[in-house]
């Protein structure tokens, strides 16, 4: 609950450092090495590392990979943003969308179970889960918006999908329909 995120100021400096050394590896296409080195470095930094994804720097993608015991399956540059596709151990696919300013502006998932939303939504998780149940809600839909935060989800047991994004952080020209 009140976990490592309370140490964010301490984690900020190493994050910048990590980002400098791992980003060129990703660009050169050596994804596995990048993921591995990121995971090892994060692990070596221990609990002081700040983690969280939505709204955080791209380096938090690697923090997610380590925290979720996952692996980066692909990293792809698209027009206006970059997508990291992360395979979670249970089979769920998590995608994290990074804007040109280096911050994660959206996350999306699909699979048999949801990802650890506390991890991938970061500081926005509490906003999301503390909201009252909307009128006419059923068990198959989430269509949540509060301030800048949008969380939308659908599907059914054994096949769940969803996404979250910061409306004000979406880079110009990005089509919302592509964020899945």
């Amino acid at each position: 609950m009140s976990d490592n995120r309370s140490n964010e100021p301490n984690g900020a400096a190493p994050l910048k450092y990590l980002r400098r050394i791992t980003m060129p590896l990703i660009r050169s296409g050596e994804i596995r090495i990048a993921a591995l080195s990121g995971a090892l470095l994060i692990a070596s930094l221990g609990p002081r590392i700040a983690f969280a994804t939505l709204g955080e720097a791209e380096m938090s993608v690697h923090s997610d990979v380590a925290q979720l015991n996952a692996s980066i399956k692909s990293s792809q540059d698209r027009a206006g943003y970059r997508v990291h596709e992360i395979q979670l151990p249970g089979g769920t696919m998590l995608r994290e969308f990074v804007a040109p300013d280096g911050n994660v502006f959206a996350v999306a998932w699909n699979g048999p179970t949801k990802p650890n939303l506390r991890q991938v939504l970061g500081k926005h998780f509490d906003t999301y889960v503390s909201a009252p149940k909307p009128k006419f809600a059923d068990r198959r839909h989430v269509n949540f918006q509060q301030g800048d935060l949008v969380v939308q989800a659908g599907g059914h047991m054994r096949a769940l999908s969803g996404r979250a994004y910061l409306a004000g952080a979406i880079p110009a020209g990005v089509n919302l329909g592509d964020l899945h």
Binding site: M1, P89, G90, G91, A108, P112, T113, K114, P115, N116, L117, R118, Q119, F125, Y128, V129, A131, K133, P134, K135, F136, A137, D138, R139, R140, H141, V142, N143, Q152, A153, G154, G155, H156, M157, R158, A159, L160, S161, G162, R163, L176, G177, L179, H180
Partner: protein
């Protein structure tokens, strides 16, 4: 066995009459000392209703309910009939809300002695609680020592962080919107691979406050209860009448167990659509091919993406459609077996108009809601699909006279 079964069933008052009238049901057959005449068929139908939901809930629309009777395994006296159990073809397993459960059901133990608990993930939240064993009776059917989940059990109040980190907790009747849920979709189990892959779903609890994710043998997982019936165990049929377009306060129909097992559940000339590995169909709407579509009694509306249709403006309703005039739209559905249903017409009404017309209505056949473009690829046809139809759902691996499950037929 049959006598015991009859006694047990009759403790559930709501079901007693129907069971007596058929002579105690087909509780097992064996055990007689003389050759009996052919037993009368098991009562395989029970009533279902769409209404406002449980008294302690906050109201619901287009939500189908039934009643079940559960007993402590082997007991004929420790039994309880519970109403407002949601009938859900989009999930698997019987789950009961602990606040309404008066019985103490024994918690399943893994081979290492740890208690088994579950974090059931629904789209909008999670439900946490132990997996317990119960004898279920519904209609004249019984599933003995059925693994069921007890949600919000006071014996297991500490939710592991990997569970609570998946969303909002739904462990009270008000938050869950039902006294329980009967998941009777086209699969056998509530997890596809929890015997070989660890998910944040099943947990081994050395103590109630110390639960960690675990593998679990399939026999201990929470199954589609139908699969544990002695007979009529290959699927279900939901039979609901047509509802007036403006809606209704309630609508009642039948839940029938088994397909082609008795005279009242015979397949006819309906269309059989096999579902894929996610229990999904391929629907085509408005020129879009939507491969992650499904028909689902557990969805309370017709959910799809169409930016050309006006949404409601009332606060809290803005994700639902409010067209100026009622729309008739066409939809095609294709099964994994390649069978097509072309140009099925569905109707989208104005939710604000519906609600204003009669505030007591709980049944709205034309209620439709948006799916965000990011969830494109899906058309979620909810309970409205079932109004005025007889819909069969065959469980995976089971044969009927018209196909092999998993399929949906109508």
């Amino acid at each position: 066995m049959a006598l015991l079964g009859a006694l047990r069933v009759c403790l559930g008052a709501a079901l007693c009459v129907s069971v007596i009238s058929c002579g105690g049901g087909g509780g097992g057959g064996g055990g007689g000392t003389t050759t009996p005449p052919p037993p009368p068929p098991t009562v395989n139908t029970t009533s279902v209703i769409v209404d406002q939901g449980p008294a302690t809930g906050s109201g619901s629309v287009n939500t189908l309910f039934t009643s079940v009777t559960v007993c402590v395994p082997g007991s004929t006296t420790s039994c309880q009939t519970i109403d407002h159990i949601q009938v859900d073809t989009g999930s698997y397993g019987l789950r009961l809300l602990a606040p309404v459960l008066t019985l103490t059901l024994p918690v399943e133990k893994l081979s290492n002695g740890n208690s088994l608990a579950e974090c059931t993930q629904f789209v909008d939240g999670y439900s946490w609680g132990p997996v317990a064993s119960a004898d279920l009776t519904i209609a004249g059917e019984t599933a003995k020592s059925l693994p069921v989940q007890v949600i919000g059990d006071s014996r297991f109040t500490t939710v592991p962080s990997t569970c609570s980190s998946t969303g909002t907790q739904e462990d009270t009747v008000a938050k869950f919107g039902a006294n329980g849920i009967l998941g009777i979709g086209p699969f056998q189990l509530d997890c596809g691979d929890c015997d070989t892959v660890v998910h944040p779903q099943y947990y081994a609890c050395a103590t109630a406050a110390n639960c960690v994710e675990t593998l679990v043998p399939t026999a201990m997982q929470v199954p589609n209860p139908v699969t544990l019936f002695a007979a009529d165990n290959n699927g279900i049929i939901i039979d609901l009448p047509t509802v007036a377009p403006a809606g209704a306060v309630t609508v009642s129909g039948q839940l029938i167990f088994g397909i082609d097992t008795q005279s009242n559940n015979q397949s006819g000339t309906q269309t059989v659509l096999t579902v894929d590995g996610n229990a999904e169909l391929l629907m085509t709407f408005n020129g879009q091919t939507l491969a992650m579509s499904f028909i689902d009694s557990g969805s309370n509306g017709i959910y799809f993406a169409d930016s050309s249709i006006s949404t409601c403006t009332t606060t809290g309703l803005t994700t639902f459609y409010c067209p100026a005039n009622t729309l008739s739209l066409g939809l095609s559905i294709q099964g994994a077996n390649g069978v097509m249903v072309n140009n099925l017409v569905f109707t989208v009404g104005n939710l604000e108009t519906m609600l204003n017309a009669d505030p007591t209505f709980n049944v709205f056949p034309e209620l439709a809601g948006t799916l965000p473009a990011g969830n494109a690829g899906s058309f979620d046809y909810g309970l409205a699909f079932f109004y005025g139809k007889r819909v069969a759902v065959a469980v995976e691996g089971n044969k009927t006279s018209v196909g092999t499950g998993p399929y949906i037929a109508f």
